[in-house]
Symmetry: D2
Subunit: 432 residues, 4 copies
């Protein structure tokens, strides 16, 4: 299944690159870059600078850092005599590339009232102009490959910009709305059904003939799966509420040891944006604070909560390879960022649904290298490989993911206690 | 000596109240409130929201909190049927008054991108309008007294707004300038001279006949002083640099135990805004980063650094009562915020100079209650009294203090390691 | 009043030194050193090594450190060719003297299973033998003065050994008993009476003609006191229980801001060793866990609790100079360590009682230098002076203090939240 | 290959249980329990109570906790009317079983000077007596199975007792020796050779017909391996020293991101017990501090160091299934605890050596459940399953492991930064 939704742009960067058309790549460059700016349209100037926790960077930082990526890895390397926009931006907007020098400390990104939003926008224009000139003139495969990488990088930060902004708004007692809307389809989700998979030797990982992928999706290789069942839809709010009401957050026996420690230390009693007000559960969504809608997918749960829920339900989470193998028979996807709803939607239809979009699905697989994995050469090798410890893989993209950005082999990764991403739960079951 | 500099307003709030003129009080109200707005004129919208450390609140918060003070302690109590501007502001902009309920957590003030600056300005206008109506109509002494208190409170926050903003700008690698300027008067300060005081029984504390004072300056009472010498000017940058160059930050024997622990834990090597760049010492001032000017007063040192310097120099810090007694013979004051220089200036002339303005002067006196001290009744009793532990008294006001706000009996107080205020060093000596 | 109780030794070290008798000093040396060993008799080997918090050193460490003091400051300086007992002990048993090199980290004292107790006892014997040889042969005033200092130092650590051991036992769910006993004298304390003092100029600090004192008690000087009342006895458990039952630990308005933060962060609900078991309050004492005895003095309260109690009672704590001045008319003292009860006893008789012994009494005075204070020369100057920040003075000694160690001018000092010392409350009142 | 070395006991618990002989089980019970006491023979009483970090429990605690395990899960469940030795031991010596109630806080285990060592030994005798009576009388398979589990549990704690004691001694500046000895076999290790494996579908996990295994080794199942090479011996000190000398601890590009953060935060510059003294590298071993022996295996490295070393060497760590599959052709094992050397020995001979014993070998596999994994029922289900997050699997046992305790399917697990276990490095390589 091809997860992408319709775009008003001619092609994804992968296809543009595959077709070798510099013109298409330029158009795609412009399109993705504009998408970042469009996502910021509902913001006030004040919203651009806030970093409500170390992991949630300010929108302004995302806008600057994605620009820094093009400047650092393309313009400075491939444009002779290129003059940087500002000499200190190399330091200020480096995220974590030790090969480019000591980055500005992550927890301090929210302290940078300067450069202003206007200055960051000027930075973007400066780099865009030089990038377009370069794309027009250069046929070099390196430039094109890095441009495509830079655009996928920017798409990742578009999603982060939304999740980080949501963390800001969702923790502000005023609960400001960003936008989107969320139709409700009744309280009762359909009974949970499962699709059966036989197991056996299957191929996983990206097929390089299919265009762009990150290095962590390679090389494609074979794995052996046991037979398993995979749920046809995501766990819903009303199902998760049953877990809450059954004392799920008070029962140590349901949790991994680290999860239980986190529950106690952080005082978790419900998913991240659930708010108990005036005797009822509400949920902060990007369209504001609303009464909890039972048939929407539960979202913003950590892997620990996903694990505890699955244990309580007598089931388990899928492995990343079970998920990837199953995605071959996925039916209609859920929402993507282009849909403008900014919240996962209720399941529809039958068959293996919601595999792409709506929520990132926690798997039980730790994030590690595939057999024969080789990171990109040079400093860009820091992009993915150095994070292969202590994290878990999530699959499928979310309502905040650009539809053109996701694919079956795509591996997202976060720490088990993380829950500010649009992360949810799909259940699986071992077949004896 | 009267420390005040010229104002374009008719009188200080103290005098306005003393004269019993509602009209004057209103004019003073308007004047002080406008001063807050004027101090923000050089700011970009982005600068209003930043809280670069827990103690350094965002400018927007200062603007809202001072307004909250009038709304909470005057309008809500004295205007029947007064409708608050926003129901959640009582919570959001409460600083530390437990009597008004649990305050919004201090370290999270910088996460509030909403309300916007425009909304906070509207809040100010709303409250100003109601305050002026009340002042026009009410003769109640309570209302007038609390209004005067509120204006002194606002003046305190004007200074904090500047020091907090300086902490933001001074830690931004771009070192943005706020404004002001700082003339240099040559490298070499005049040799240090001292004024001699005989000691004996002297009266300290505020004389209630002289108008407004905070509760912590009362009651006026007698203390017994030993004979002492007090330096006629502040310690300068070049003098402090001698201490640095002599290994002052590496010699445990010069420091109090807590100070030495702080030096090691924080890695202090110089005063807060000294930056070693390209082989020379620079200092960040509100007019930008400049080479260190030797004859300017050293500023932004902690009490621990002041103590270590004094020990190194074979001298000591004065007690708060020595300082207060000596201030009776003070000559020309230093700079105040109305001077618009925003940085302490070089000493001029002879005699006991710079006692008021330029820098807050650390004393060796812990901040405690005077004999018979009684805090204000009710929730306003939390204003000063509950902070009487572990802090030291500073005296005299600084270049960021409104000149109409300071007086000889005024007691400022900070923790010994604090150094983001305009705090400096005046030396004293025991006479055998 | 002379606070000392009867000893089986001829004289206090102070008097021994004053009389210039080397023989008496030697006898006193032996006596004090033996007292340390006697205090350890009830201990099991396992008890010697435990450090239940950073501030509570293991008994073994106290035994070694006090020995290190004699070796470092006397034997190594005054005995030519003296061979240290072990080359690494200089490092291991240095408490905080930077002049002797980097001390072994305080929080790790409990990790030193070696040297064993037997080895530490051999260390003591080694040093005692050399000390006695030196005292027999030397008339040097330096040696005698440092020996007397070392003996007072050892007496301080005898008290700490007991309080640190109590913290260990009192936090062990088995509540082991050390020894002592605690007669109860009925539930109801006598009604609280006060002694009146007129104020005026009084002399405070040690009179050097009276023998030994620490440098922080000097120089004797005059201060001006306002008239005041001082309570004739300590606050009792039953009186403090009234405060607890009245919600004292839940009312922010009774506490200093730092105290309230501590209450919330540490979850304080009662004094340190009060344990609520089976529906009643018990108190861990060195003779075990027992039902709370109402007429015993409340003990193991922080200065914050003392302040909050006094505020609740409409009274205040005395200053250290009020206390010292009042001690001139003190009647019968309370218990000292020689009494072997190891817990403060109920008040007896009339007049200003319990001023010495029973509990250290929190004052409202911060610990600072007297006018003209000069620390001891050299490394021994680190003994007292460098701690003169953020601490409060306590006066009078406790049930764990050797009676020969205390005097009217004696200044003990701890941080406001500390409560593992035998610290209690005496109330005072301002007279208008 | 059978990794066990010679024992003076008739059979391993697994075999005893397999043979169904109660008599053999009793003899094995006695043998294992005695082994714990024997390991403590070199200790002084003072050594039994020290907990030098939260993870390193005191020897006394290990002796009591293993006893608690038999009392809690066997005697209390299977002996009607059994009277516990002490009512508070259930709480004091519970490690992490929430099903038995809130455990005594782990970081406070070192604060329990009571019960004494003698009391703990009496506890052991009490439980041993009742266990032997039960084993004599009961044929119940439950009792036997839990006894075997309890003995394997005790063997695990025997190893931990040694590693925790080593952490204590190795961080004591006196570097006390425990025992053992370590023959050196010359400076130069043999050149590194590899054994080739073809990959394909292989079975992993424990075969239940072969006797005891922990639940985490089950169920046996098939996995698909790619072809790979596995090093025939462990990485040596001299090889690791090359990494150190090549700036291995200063090059961010060699490390996983978490590893690099740990290096910087903890200041790592070499493996845990390497000490640079007098210009040369020494290593603390259980036989004391000695000059580093180049041909001994490097030990006490974290997974991060193992990963960085492998990256530097252009190789990688094996997966746990590669390791398990390869172990089928392992030749002579290294040292086990029964050998009494207490330190890994130099490689000998040719072929795939040192797979069992000497050091635990870090794998790149995260510790997770096998397909169809089911924890033990009830509270014992907390034994292994709840730790299946964020940890990595180590294989093969160490010089501190009882030889009868290890097997090819055995999965040990620790966090990537942990290095106080006897953990080392075996290299692997992908074959294209």
């Amino acid at each position: 299944m091809k997860p992408q939704r319709g775009w008003d742009t001619p092609a994804s960067p992968t296809e543009a690159q595959a077709h070798g058309s510099a013109d298409e790549l330029t158009r795609y460059y412009v399109s993705v870059r504009e998408q970042s700016a469009q996502l910021c349209e509902p913001l006030e100037i004040e919203d651009f600078g806030v970093q409500p926790m170390a992991d949630a960077s300010p929108p302004k930082w995302h806008l600057a850092h994605t620009t820094w990526f093009f400047e650092t890895f393309i313009l400075r390397e491939f444009v002779p005599g290129y003059a940087v926009f500002h000499p200190k931006f190399e330091y200020l907007f480096n995220s974590y590339y030790n090969g480019v020098g000591e980055p500005y400390p992550r927890p301090r990104r929210g302290y940078l009232s300067r450069p202003t939003v206007a200055e960051v926008m000027a930075y973007r224009e400066h780099v865009d102009q030089h990038m377009q000139e370069l794309l027009d003139s250069a046929d070099a495969e390196d430039v094109q490959a890095r441009t495509v990488l830079g655009l996928h990088h920017e798409q990742q930060h578009q999603e982060l910009l939304l999740t980080d902004l949501k963390y800001n708004f969702g923790n502000n007692p005023l609960y400001p709305a960003y936008g989107g809307s969320c139709a409700d389809a009744g309280e009762s989700p359909a009974a949970l059904t499962f699709t059966t998979f036989d197991g056996g030797i299957v191929a996983v990982g990206h097929n390089t003939a299919d265009g762009f992928a990150f290095d962590n999706e390679l090389p494609r290789h074979e794995v052996l799966l046991q037979p398993f069942l995979l749920a046809d839809r995501l766990v819903t709010n009303s199902e998760f509420l049953d877990f809450v009401d059954d004392g799920g957050y008070e029962r140590a026996d349901l949790w991994l040891s680290e999860g239980w420690s986190t529950v106690q230390a952080a005082g978790w009693q419900a998913p991240l944006y659930w708010v108990h007000e005036d005797g009822q559960w509400c949920e902060y969504r990007l369209d504001g604070l609303h009464p909890l809608q039972g048939n929407l997918p539960v979202v913003h749960v950590s892997a620990h909560e996903a694990f505890a829920y699955a244990t309580w339900a007598g089931l388990r989470l899928p492995t990343e390879f079970e998920w990837e193998h199953a995605s071959n028979v996925a039916v209609e996807p859920g929402s993507f960022v282009e849909d403008g709803v900014y919240h996962p939607q209720a399941a529809r239809g039958s068959g293996l649904g919601q595999m792409f979009g709506d929520v990132w699905e926690w798997t039980s697989s730790s994030y590690g290298p595939y057999p024969g994995y080789a990171p990109l050469p040079g400093t860009l090798g820091e992009y993915n490989g150095k994070f292969m410890s202590s994290q878990l893989v999530l699959r499928g993209g979310s309502t905040a993911t650009p539809g053109s950005h996701i694919r079956a082999s795509y591996r997202n990764f976060f720490y088990p206690p993380d829950r500010w991403q649009f992360s949810g739960i799909r259940l699986a079951k071992h077949i004896e």
